[in-house]
Subunit: 330 residues, 2 copies
């Protein structure tokens, strides 16, 4: 963290982020007890408390036909917890606001059990919340609270760093594609969408071993999220197309070429994106300890933006989009 | 606060509170850094951090025909901030999740300006949030963060204490009644609904001067909220019908008798309810310093439940309900 006073983190391009930028500009000066304000994955307060909010809306972020009530609750909490992983924070608890459709078709106990399951899997508990009727869709808003002695932001990437991701990418997008085309997704694709695993333990381990210069989670897709990191760190990120760990479930559904697009732009993977000094990360250690694949997918250079390097050596700048994001369901 | 370990606060009767009780039971053990868990107005963490969440749903908590976008944002933030007043906490910031209808009919900048206005009025800032599309109604969920050296809970009322409220009650209910009957509410009633004032400064003053044994805010109506305090404190609360400060706007619309029902059961007043040792509160001081009326409305006795004493001396137990609550709009 840089010097005294709160840190403001720069965001990459996109209409949603234009709104967030306007909100930050309107929000005014931050209280002195706030260490990191809006713009990163979470806010950081005096005492190392970390807070973030994630909103899940029926027919925008999920359809009820796709998931059980328990999975809806689990997923809403897990995606919020992923923002704590993105800061290297240990979860403490969550505040859960739910608006339930009036027809009684959502089992609130099941939904809440899913929330509790996701929280308990990382040692956190429900600390509060609100419950209301909804005249339409189901809404679940989860604010998570965690703690860290050493929050890792998006803005520490330096030229020469290696770029890494956890797990494999694109399986969630494959599940959404299958469902929207009226098919049942493969078990692996369904699991990636319905039960994402917040990478808390791996993130805390990376931070404790001082392996990361910048860290965030992947919610918008590797290309868009790397663009946020590049903008925040004022660097250029070059991704190697041949190195990106594309999920087999995405390859099976999309074919090799479109599966890479799903990994770059599909979103909702909830894996970690981080940069580290050259030669410092030992993937075998993480595989052994967390059964989690770490993949070296690119490098940080002087410059700006996110670029894709083909095995042939050709390099092109990645623009946002190019793949239907399921955040556009509505 | 009692001894080591987190405090759990008992809730009064009601279906919503049955769900909250179930949620608490499902939530499991609380982390050691949590000082007060679910059940009070807000959770309290190590370091004196206080957190609470308040959800506002279109056509359940408000109608867009009643309020400007700016008022919707202001009201959503102000009602959440009222939970910080209820703990005697100074606001620091808020996390604001908004789901916007797809037709572009809500001006997000105006809504956000209303949120920022409410926060800035008590020295707080927007620290984060989420923004999504809604396939239907507008949703605004606000999680507020504050700090106090000395959180005041609902469970400290003792036999012999005086019961007090701030401001006057029933005007919000009058506004809702006028609107639902197709009329325009009076200016005073409209203001009470559209721009509630979180009683932060008065609450902090009450706490600093050690005047309160138990404190909460009035969101469900005096009768229902006093029932929560009575249950949490394991005491009986006797309200004096002739002493309750019924808003003139409510009397004008409802007539004297029904206006008292609005004050008892209408809800959404966002005033403070507190108890204090006999003869300790000086209303003239609060009027001079905060231009805020404090009214002695009853007493705490051994026993349970909330009771209403008529000027004639007759006393009856108050049951929940008896007045249409606008939380039932949907």
């Amino acid at each position: 963290m840089d010097g005294p006073g709160p840190t403001t983190v720069q965001l990459g391009p996109g209409a949603e982020f234009d709104r967030i930028r306007r909100a930050i500009a309107m929000g005014g000066a931050l209280p002195t007890s706030v260490r990191v304000g809006p713009g990163d994955d979470a806010a950081v307060l005096e005492g190392g408390w970390v807070l973030s909010t994630d909103l899940s809306v029926e027919d925008v972020h999920f359809r009820r036909a796709w998931l059980s009530d328990r999975e809806i609750g689990y997923r809403a909490a897990a995606t919020a917890l992923s923002d704590l992983a993105a800061m290297g924070a240990s979860p403490v608890g969550a505040f859960v606001s739910v608006a339930l459709p009036p027809d009684g078709s959502v089992n609130w106990d099941e939904l809440q059990a899913g929330v509790v399951e996701a929280l308990a899997s990382v040692g956190a508990a429900v600390l509060g919340g609100d419950l209301a009727k909804s005249p339409g869709p189901l809404f679940v808003d989860v604010t998570v609270l965690g703690r860290t002695a050493w929050p890792v932001l998006r803005n520490g990437a330096e030229a020469g760093d290696e770029v890494w991701v956890t797990g494999c990418l694109g399986a969630s997008a494959a599940a959404v594609r299958a469902w929207t085309e009226g098919n049942e997704p493969s078990a692996a694709a369904r699991l990636a969408f319905a039960r994402p695993i917040p990478r808390i333990a791996a993130a805390c381990c990376l931070v404790e071993h001082k392996l990361v210069d910048a860290l965030m989670d992947l919610s918008d897709g590797l290309a868009g999220d790397a663009a946020h990191m590049a903008a925040a760190s004022e660097v250029k990120i070059v991704l190697q197309a041949g190195a990106i760990p594309v999920a087999q479930a995405a390859v099976d559904l999309f074919g090799q070429s479109e599966a890479l697009q799903a990994a770059l732009h599909g979103g909702e993977d909830y894996e970690l994106l981080f940069v580290s000094g050259p030669g410092r990360v030992d993937p075998a250690y993480f595989m052994k300890r967390f059964n989690l694949e770490l993949t070296h997918v690119g490098r940080v250079e002087l410059g700006d933006g996110v670029w894709l390097e083909q095995p042939s050596g050709s390099v092109e700048r990645l623009e946002r989009g190019g793949f239907d994001h399921f955040g556009d369901l509505a």
